[in-house]
Symmetry: none
Subunit: 422 residues, 2 copies
């Protein structure tokens, strides 16, 4: 089944906001065997939106629109969809009460403008939106089904997961060969080095396709099966992803939806270890990343953000002499930070980051982008020196990921040798 | 003049890569007075690409395509463009020598596959590509002009700046008005409430256009001038953004590229205040957000991530009795955290967050999404209670933004009253 995506909003068309929603929807549809044929971005212009919607409804049996469902004057999607399907807009009393109730819960009277969000095209079905005021809509006729979603990413994603994907999946003929993908995730190795490691697996992958998807600090390997019977696709995918995971070895951290945070927490939990962090240039980003996964409180105790040198000495206990002698951005201070947080918080594992995120603060000896990442476990202590140029954001993100990679490998390597020893 | 953008590539259509090129091109075109009417993303499929190109050439006098100019089998843009314009592909000998020379410079023989990159449609002009092997093309007929650019962002941007924008600008009547936009940023007020506050300004905005762009926890207001002489556009934009900023009052934090972190750091700097943070459910996200802006070390001292209750008492000094009596997620504990971090770190201002990010850990009395945000300054202390449902990520982000909004307003309000007092 082919689908089209329509992203609606002047901010997207004029380039003020990058349209990340369409990529998300396309990935999700791909996973359930629906291939996107075309994506169109159009502004908040009644005539042009109408033209686009008429074209896509003529061309495709499945359409997903995003955006233009807000309460303000330039939110026209509801009205234009109703026009294209030649339906009246009717006030949905239940929706209106739910909206009023939502505002009441937050202690407000519903503004009159929000009333329009309870108006839906005759015959359309409502997808409740627990995260916002704009409900989604499903409207169809003999040609096509249109899923009308809000543009705010968190709301769009929730409605997609809760209602749209399950319905499309149920409507898909399960016998039909679908596109299935698996993703093997790695951290700490570059794209071309990983491609070289996997060269023979990639060369012999057919009928599967392998693609390398580089991100800042980590690389995903996507394996896709298209046009194979479901059972065969699943077997082949399982075999190849497992071979890739083995080959990726210490850089491998998980598959599909597994995050680096998930992988680390699982290893720590297995090991019975707790962790605490001491951060400087990342300002709390490492702690935030480690606690992205639910249930992180099992193993994550907390941390100290030692941004100023004063805090490094007073709260964390790094020796002023060490700071004086080596400077805050140094292997010695990083090592001391990891040891100190471990001891202060009574954690099994201490992690530390100190670096120069820039754009200011660099010197010839210690340029912007110089970062030390350290991990101390009950068994071992390692410091990694990074020296990448890049924007402030990129340096901070890379420092966080690199420390997480180090943490994972030291936790896992020790798990393995511990297993070997028993 | 209206334009269309066509982004070509399976990786874009399937969502493996987010299309950031189109937004860049749209912004650049907007600056020279060209409005994008529609953006289409299409895959490496000959038939579908041909259909898209025929439609856009029929519809628009100016088209920019990106992608599909590489040397591999799925790079088909050159051929399909030649078909659509009914031209033959001819080998450009000069281009071929330049390509061979490029490879020689890097110490390689040119691979045979790259020969196709020297084939151009009859009558097309070549845009040399100093950053890669795929040259750009300009092809036109009586209907339309198509600029054919490579998809690699750094190459696309260089060709756009060097050749495409200057040519379009030269072709544009310089007397003709351009599109200019300004953005007013707000935090702490919902989209519809803000729209209501600004209703009369929006109603009288013409010939300017006003749009509300909601994000999680904050709303931007974009004001656009299209079809006005430059000087008049600037004056009108300045007047209206200033009126909107005034009206948005305590929710306003800046314009255009200003981030919330920028705005807060500037207020703190003006005030001569330092800040430290105590975080629980956000895991370090507040510190990370406050240090996004360069130069944050002027005022940001650091923080304690007190994820476990043990850390709340031992490192931060929250009384165990308080925790026992009220629970970790309570107004009393939040207040105590803000006071404690302020005192421990010797900061002028202490911020605190404690909440239940979920998905687990909620109870009927304290459901997932319940968060207390607190700020204590030398003059005042305020706690805000949030109670939003939502995903773990959304709860954490909202908690961070809400605390930043509170911090900004308390720093600014006090600045104002201090000014009033002198």
């Amino acid at each position: 089944m082919g689908a089209e995506i329509v992203a609606i909003g002047n901010e997207l068309l004029l380039g003020e906001t990058v349209d990340t929603n369409s990529a998300h929807v396309a990935r999700c549809l791909g996973r359930i065997g629906v291939r996107v044929r075309r994506t169109t971005v159009v502004g908040d212009d009644r005539e042009r939106l109408r033209a686009v919607l008429e074209e896509v409804c003529d061309r495709s049996r499945l359409v997903i629109t995003m955006g233009g469902l807000g309460p303000t004057h330039d939110d026209i999607t509801r009205e234009v969809v109703a026009e294209v399907f030649d339906r009246r807009l009717l006030l949905d009393e239940r929706l209106l009460s739910a909206l009023k109730e939502r505002f009441r819960r937050f202690g407000y009277e519903m503004p009159p403008a929000n009333r329009s969000q309870a108006e839906i095209p005759e015959g359309a079905r409502v997808i409740p939106n627990p995260h916002g005021t704009a409900p989604g809509l499903i409207i169809d006729d003999e040609r096509t089904t249109v899923y009308v979603l809000p543009g705010v990413p968190v709301e769009m994603k929730a409605l997609l997961d809760d209602a749209v994907l399950p319905e499309i999946l149920a409507a898909t003929d399960q016998q039909q060969p679908v596109i299935q993908s698996r993703v093997v995730r790695t951290v700490g190795i570059g794209e071309s080095a990983l491609a070289e490691e996997l060269a023979d697996l990639v060369a012999e992958a057919a009928p599967l396709e392998v693609a390398f998807l580089p991100h800042l600090g980590r690389v995903d390997v996507r394996v896709t099966a298209a046009g194979l019977p479901t059972a065969e696709a699943e077997t082949r995918l399982a075999e190849l992803t497992s071979a890739i995971a083995d080959r990726a070895g210490r850089w491998y951290y998980g598959e599909d939806e597994t995050t680096l945070s998930d992988a680390i927490l699982e290893q720590l939990r297995d090991r019975g270890w707790t962790v605490a962090v001491a951060e400087s240039c990342t300002g709390g980003g490492l702690g935030a990343a480690l606690t992205e996964a639910p249930g992180s409180s099992d193993v994550f105790l907390g941390g100290i953000v030692a941004y100023s040198n004063n805090v490094k000495t007073s709260a964390l206990g790094v020796s002023p002499m060490l700071l004086e002698e080596h400077g805050a951005v140094s292997e010695a201070v990083c090592r001391s930070m990891a040891a100190a947080i471990r001891e202060r918080f009574g954690a099994a594992v201490g992690c530390a980051i100190t670096g120069i995120a820039g754009p200011g603060g660099g010197t010839p000896e210690k340029p912007v982008g110089l970062v030390y990442c350290g991990v101390e476990t009950p068994l071992d202590s390692k410091i990694r020196r990074l020296d990448y140029p890049g924007t402030r954001d990129a340096v901070r993100e890379r420092a966080t990921l690199s420390t997480m990679g180090l943490l994972l490998s030291m936790t896992r390597a020790e798990n393995r040798s511990a297993e070997g020893a028993t």
